[in-house]
Symmetry: none
Subunit: 96 residues, 2 copies
DNA sequence: TTCTGTTATACGTGAAAAGCGTATAAGCGG
DNA sequence: CCGCTTATACGCTTTTCACGTATAACAGAA
């Protein structure tokens, strides 16, 4: 039950974070936490190893994300969304 | 939102065209570790708070990077490079 | 001028989580 | 059988980030 409690606390903490971020003036980017990393990679038809090395992280980390054992950090989620939305832009930036 | 997902998958599918049309398989992206995060942010003319919330991380983390107290992870570095190279593309991906 | 309310930036502390190397193993097409 | 892809365990290193405090630079009010 210590576990359940931690979960609740964590949930509350996140809600707080969202509430805070939501009121930043101007534009706050809405970030869905339920990113389907596997689907994004699948669309690229790259293997885990290829996808990982191409975009700058380890295979191990990618697996953690795909298998939902760990959640990608904010920046990583943002990157994944850009890859999903416009992979060409990412390729261009990283190749140059 | 199944729609949103399809959109992302569709977008990612473009990677294919590039991956195949361009170089051969498995080219690796080189990543300079000495990223000048402050300069990248300066180019966007955003405050630390704005920059951080817009791209998905905390102000504190951004400061760690700018002051070189900590190094951004691979995915974060990749994101920063994309922001430096084509910030509009990132905005587009995150706003949708 | 002086007080006062932003706004931007710096940083100590510490818990939680992510990042990731290495090793091992199973499934599969060739 | 071999090589490639993916899954998983173990475990150590590093980052992330909340919370709090502190310091300037400014702008407008008193």
């Amino acid at each position: 039950m210590a576990k359940a409690k931690n979960k609740m606390v964590e949930g509350a903490r996140q809600a707080l974070a969202i509430a805070r971020g939501g009121k930043v003036k101007g534009f706050r980017v809405h970030e869905p936490k339920d990113l389907d990393v596997r689907a994004i990679r699948a669309a690229t038809k790259l293997s885990q190893a290829q996808f990982a090395s191409r975009f700058g992280f380890s295979v191990r980390t990618l697996q953690e994300w795909e298998q939902r054992r760990e959640v990608a950090t904010g920046a990583a989620r943002a990157l994944l969304r850009v890859i999903a939305h416009d992979p060409a832009a990412v390729e261009r930036a990283l190749v140059s």
